[in-house]
Point group: C2
Chain length 222, copies 2
């Protein structure tokens, strides 16, 4: 399978790119608005993987070209860029592709981090609204600490939650998630249930801020 990480030069994109290249044989494509930057980052990821004994090909492209080549397109961009990123690649998306939305809206104040719910209802819904007719969107990978994901020596032992209205698309993303060692995918229902999933991310930040020795947190349901 070919996975494009749009915004794959950012934190969460880096973590997912490294993990998929490390744990699976899927082809990982790093996308960026700036193709030169995507290529540089892809080379960095290859070097990191090589140092862990994995010879993986990671290629960098402009977002649209990465999306065009991929079966699964992860929108690893800030929430306010989700809609325009989808619009910028819509001609490259086929009905057989799956869009994945890992972003969440957050706002920091003096008390901590808060869920900043977009008027669409959630960032996942915002992505679904922007997606071309027939292209399914699955919300996933919201609650993963980028630093822990990118550290290939770090054990995960945590869960990621899936929301989506297309069962086949959700199955594909579940498979991709569970191929990452130590990650379990749980179904949280339809896209209407995305706000409760996305609002776990600021909670993780608040718990890390307020408890000594806790950082790069994830959650496990039990």
């Amino acid at each position: 399978m070919r996975i494009a990480l749009l915004g794959g030069t950012g934190d969460i994109g880096e973590g997912l790119a490294l993990r998929w290249a490390f744990h699976t044989d899927h082809e990982v494509l790093v996308g960026s608005r700036d193709p030169e930057r995507a290529r540089t980052k892809a080379e960095e990821y290859e070097t990191e993987l090589d140092s862990r004994g994995v010879e993986a090909k990671v290629k960098g492209f402009a977002n649209a070209m990465a999306a065009d080549r991929a079966d699964v397109v992860v929108l690893a961009v800030p929430p306010y860029h989700v809609a325009d990123t989808v619009e910028s690649i819509e001609d490259e998306l086929a009905d057989t592709d799956v869009l994945v939305s890992p972003a969440t809206g957050m706002k920091r104040d003096e008390d901590g981090m808060h869920y900043h719910r977009p008027s669409a209802g959630s960032v996942t819904k915002l992505a679904a609204d922007a997606a071309p007719e027939g292209v399914p969107v699955v919300g996933a990978f919201h609650n993963l600490a980028a630093g822990r994901l990118a550290d290939l020596t770090a054990d995960l032992g945590i869960d990621t939650l899936l929301v989506g209205d297309d069962p086949d698309a959700k199955d594909i993303v579940r498979m991709l998630a569970e191929e990452i060692e130590g990650l379990r995918a749980l179904d949280a229902g339809g896209i209407a249930n995305a706000p409760e999933v996305e609002s776990v991310t600021p909670l993780l930040v608040n718990v890390a801020m307020n408890n000594e020795g806790m950082h790069d947190l994830g959650i496990q349901f039990r």
Copy 2:
């Protein structure tokens, strides 16, 4: 310490009453609007504890009388009764008492359970707004499955999150939480951070609904 569970005849009240009576030497007072019902439930709890080899005294009272006798008062009532319950006991509360808010607002639709955020910002804030000047409120025990708590043979191995603006009050609730075997208390910051804590509860329902074999879920941060 004396702990009053107002609405202690309901699900979460029952779970907390049984756990504190089982694992600690604190005096557990079950409160209800109907003192007869409180006494009947207290006797049921004593019978259950006795069957587990624990001879604990659990007493039932009208809410105001339970609150009057207690050091820590848990508002184990539905969210829409939090404010009037606090008002009904305000003459019984001293500055040295601690109010605990475990309730969360939820609304079910065809997709699942959703966080129904009160206009005060959170149920914990609603309790804090209703509390007499000087009486601290701590949000805690939101994310515990009542059935699992009430089953004294069930292992917990989960976390509960604390939110509060009074560090001393939070320390008391942390101690009470951690005296329950298998429960870890984590600090999630001030009351302004309560919405992200309370919205985990509908998420637990959604995950249980959508994943075979999962029920009475809790979470662990790791």
